[in-house]
Symmetry: C2
Subunit: 242 residues, 2 copies
């Protein structure tokens, strides 16, 4: 682990990069303890606050974790799917909210990816995942449900569908696509009729998944995408010309 004394970049950035490279290259392995802050500051010839800033950068990316006390220190962190999920969701959400991504673009991406999961889910979903889908459909039919709660249930339904594929990598990749849509969906007002149509499609999809009919599941998702985009278009049209 070396830094370039001639570089113009901030020291804490360079040090963070050096450690990150060591982790990626396998020079530092999972659960290995890094040298203490004092040792690192000695090694890189910088002060301890500078080393600490570098470590905080890595901690923010879940690359390391720190422990206080004797035999404490910074340890290379095993990046868990859970941590990665969370990062993926916040990054995707911010990306969408800060870049004026159109509803259609986000929606197209989400459903394209979800349709990719449908055949796997139809073949492999557990009874538990199917039960979750049914439970969410039931919840969506309850009277008095707020729009926000309806959207949250919608996300939960789709999460179960994706998880049904039994492929954690797929679940991780889709987490962002599905959850980041929620703020966009929250802009829509769902009438009782809209909800009935959506839950009807959800039922169709769940039935197809239960029957192992991947074609029907894909078709159901296609119709749901069309319906969602139509709803959104109506909302935006109504706002443009009140």
């Amino acid at each position: 682990m070396k830094i370039d004394p001639n570089s113009s970049a901030d020291l804490s950035v360079q040090i963070a990069q050096a450690i990150k490279d060591a982790i990626i290259s396998g020079e530092l392995i999972v659960d290995e303890r890094l040298p203490s802050e004092a040792e690192l500051s000695d090694h890189f010839q910088v002060s301890r606050p500078t080393v600490r800033e570098a470590l905080k950068r890595l901690a923010a990316q879940s690359l390391i974790r720190t422990q206080r006390g004797a035999s404490g220190g910074a340890f290379v962190n095993r990046l868990s799917f859970e941590d990665a999920y969370a990062q993926q969701v916040t990054t995707s959400t911010l990306l969408l909210s800060m870049n004026e991504v159109s509803f259609d673009t986000a929606c197209e991406a989400r459903y394209a990816l979800e349709r990719a999961c449908a055949p796997l889910s139809a073949a492999r979903r557990s009874a538990d995942q199917l039960a979750t889908m049914r439970a969410e459909i039931f919840r969506q039919g309850q009277p008095g449900l707020t729009d926000v709660a309806f959207c949250a249930s919608d996300v939960a339904f789709h999460r179960a569908l994706v998880d049904g594929a039994g492929n954690p990598v797929l679940s991780y990749q889709l987490a962002g696509a599905v959850e980041a849509m929620q703020p966009l969906m929250n802009m829509i007002t769902f009438t009782a009729r809209d909800r009935a149509v959506i839950t009807g499609l959800h039922t169709r999809i769940a039935d197809a998944i239960e029957a192992g009919d991947s074609g029907a599941a894909v078709a159901g998702l296609q119709d749901l995408e069309d319906e969602t985009r139509k709803l959104a278009a109506d909302v935006f049209a109504a706002r443009a010309a009140p």
Copy 2:
């Protein structure tokens, strides 16, 4: 922006979270300048190094950028697709390398997602993206190409295919799935015959994309997935029983 004085969490974590919340909620908008470090340390009643650690955490996630000098400071950063790509790729790569994800699982996820892009790409790809695909196929046929270079070209081919869908959200989501496979692919030794089969399939896919034939493109990707998994299985079998 407030922090809880009774919380046991580290101060820099709390402060980073408070600022992050303010950004996500829209309280702080893109390109807005945060208070100076001195003002923040005054506001939160902590020292400047603590504030700085919090800011470094946010900078590591590309949520803010800092500028030195007069009228400098920390600014809310517009999360660009480029930044998000990069994060997505490193996170996915580490996730795969640290969690003993099987080749098959990663491969299945990657091709499932890629097949989702194929119909859009067949309909929309630009001439430029098609040319990139052709150029990479040509490169893959060159003699003397190392296995690593062959894999890199493979990734470039697939990136062009995905970008052909013309949906930046989709490109972002797939960046991780496609690029994170590269280290896994690098474990495979490609014989001349293997390469011929793969480039043949690439040609089939490119032809289908050019012709706008989404069914053929999906079928080509399916065959490519099967071929890739067969190759990997052979490699692992050979290693298990030498």
